[in-house]
Amino acid sequence: MEKFLYNLETFLKTQMNRKGFLKVCCAVLLAFITGNQLLKAAFAKSEDSSGRPKKGLKGLHDIVAVKGGDPYQNTVKAVEQMGGIGRFVKKGDVVVVKPNMAWDRTPRQAANTDPMVVAALVELCYKAGAKRVNVFDIPCNEDRPVYEHSGIAAAAKEKGAFVYFADHWNVVKAKFSYNSSMEGWPVLRDAVVCDTFINVPVLKHHGYTKLTLSMKNLMGVCSGKRGLIHLDIGTKLVDMTDFINPDLTVIDATRVLLRNGPSGGNESDVQAFNTVIAATDPTLADVYACSLVKIDPAEIPYLKAAMARGVGRSDLTQADVLEVQA
């Protein structure tokens, strides 16, 4: 300590000349650059990915909509009518069930997917022999309260799912075979490196895109500056859907937030539709969900973009729709 004090005293008493000053500056700059480079080298860069492969799985029907009092049974029945979960999940698969778990809201406020719908899907996947079912989202509010208050974490964990907070460092860079403004976007690796991806959005109002549907729900696997996705959101979300390529889309329309979305909060804005929709084509699923709340799909930016580019089908009159009362 005595030596340190002595050195400090000497240092403070020594007058610095121009040469010494430049030397110190150079040393600091050099140390900064090397330190930065070392840190960069130490942490691996995220690799490129061209997205999930297109499996082209088909169900028995294009769309199955089940109406009934119990969302759990609705979901089980909807998947059953699609031809069973075995069509989508094989033995030993790693499955991602991606709910809309974005807001610090209770299930009754209907800003997130109903926990029972998620629980039903998790259980079905394990019954089909899935090795592991992952449930995660990048919320818009703080992780912990959202996971807890939405009720999804507890419901999915009870069925044995792995529920965890998404890590923003564990991403891949999106690569597209065509020109896309989502080129190089960091997407959660777990959402891309999996055998089956089940998209479980909630049908609700959205102040900017009119409705939140399955394509909008895929924003939840995008890391990075997500706010930028809102610029030209239609094209970007269609690109994202093409990149993730969900094998099965299950839209939860049990309780529907009709106004003041996407976060909602007021229960008087919520109306019970008690419906669960299952489909393999995300565009078709979204178009059908629009018909439930009587909104023209052409008003919704991402459906408009999908129709213009011919991604998926959008003509309900040509689709094989099965509506069931549970």
């Binding site: 300590m1 005595e2 004090l5 942490f43 691996a44 309260p145 965890y164 890590d167």
Partner: protein
């Protein structure tokens, strides 16, 4: 065996650990079982000055007065045995070579009186309606450093370490799940970089550096809570008693608070009960005992000290209190600024 010193160190470590634990658990969903409020309720300077500045009878005052009551009996036990900042300052101080430089001039009375000036300023500000003691209060200072610097730094370093291991060795299996478990629990503090963190850290480093120059310089000269406690500790029941003094002056040189005067006499308000002098004494006749024990104190307190005396300080407090007493509840408080065209609320 220095039993009492060992006890003090255990107490300090326990309370520091508890302090960090309480702050660490102030994250969602507020687990931990101990309300962080207790940290500040047990701080009389903070509670009393807040109550005065807000003109409110805060329920936490009960705890604050309990601490003052305990100080009436034991003396400044808080500073030496409990205070988290005091513990850290002691830890810094242990790096210091004992008596490396002759800094005996720092032991003088004037230095010790600086803290009363701070206490007085903070009290005046409190009377005027400003609770400003948080700037220097040791509990608040320690809480700032722990929550703005220590916890973010530790969680950040641990997180980066895990990420490096996982990415470097491709441990995306069970080890990754273990990391996720930690993120959902003890490492789940969201790493936030606070704008004021650097200022807080520099402030803390200055306090640490002061204690490298002179042991517990902060506690001796600056701490407002220490000043409050030292005023109370003057009347404490527990006293240092020297039954036989050979005048070697070892205790005086080693005292971390510079509280010991010549001939074994000491400054009661400065003593933090660190118990070092009990074991420094070559005659082995130094002890701490309650008032009314058989052997009386050796010498009467030295008279004629310069600078602000205790009496003048108390006069300052009383007169300032009286001079502002007419404005105990200032009318300005009831005035509100309303936007143009606003209607007054009912009631």
């Amino acid at each position: 065996m220095k039993k009492l010193v060992l006890l003090r160190r255990i107490s300090q470590a326990l309370f520091l650990g508890l302090f960090v634990y309480i702050l660490w658990s102030t994250t969602y969903p507020l687990g931990g079982g101990i309300s962080p409020r207790i940290l500040f309720n047990l701080d009389p300077a903070l509670m009393i000055f807040t109550a005065v500045s807000e003109r409110l009878l805060l329920p936490g005052l009960v705890f604050a007065f309990l601490m003052i009551g305990a100080t009436f009996i034991l003396g400044r036990f808080f500073c030496g045995w409990v205070c988290p900042l005091g513990t850290v300052i002691d830890a810094f101080g242990s790096l210091r070579k004992k008596n490396a430089r002759d800094l005996s001039w720092l032991n003088n009375r004037r230095l010790k009186n600086i803290k009363y000036v701070f206490l007085g300023i903070f009290f005046l500000l409190a009377v005027a309606g400003f609770q400003a003691v948080w700037v220097m209060d040791p509990v608040v200072t320690a809480a700032r450093v722990v929550s703005l610097n220590v916890i973010p730094a530790v969680t950040f370093a641990a997180d980066r370490g895990f990420v490096w291991l996982i990415q470097r060795f491709g441990l995306y299996g069970g080890f990754y799940d273990f990391y996720r478990g930690l993120k959902a629990g003890v490492l789940g503090v969201r790493i936030v970089f606070f704008a004021n963190a650097l200022i807080t850290f520099i402030y803390f480093l200055v306090i640490g550096f002061l204690s490298l120059v002179v042991a517990r310089l902060w506690c001796r000269a600056l701490c407002p809570l220490g000043a409050l406690y030292s005023l109370v500790a003057l009347f404490s029941r527990l006293e240092r008693k020297v039954d036989a003094c050979n005048g070697c002056g070892l205790c005086r040189r080693n005292c971390r608070m510079g509280a010991i005067r010549e001939e074994g006499d000491y400054d009661k308000g400065e003593c933090v009960l660190c118990m070092d002098c009990v074991y420094d004494c070559p005659t082995g006749k130094t002890r701490f005992a309650f008032k009314g024990a058989a052997v009386p104190a050796l010498a009467a307190p030295a008279a004629g000290s310069k600078g602000m005396t205790r009496r003048s300080f108390l006069w300052l407090m009383a007169s300032s209190f009286l001079s502002l007493g007419g404005r105990w509840a200032p009318a300005a408080r009831r005035r509100v600024i309303r936007p143009p065209g606003a209607v007054e609320e009912a009631g």
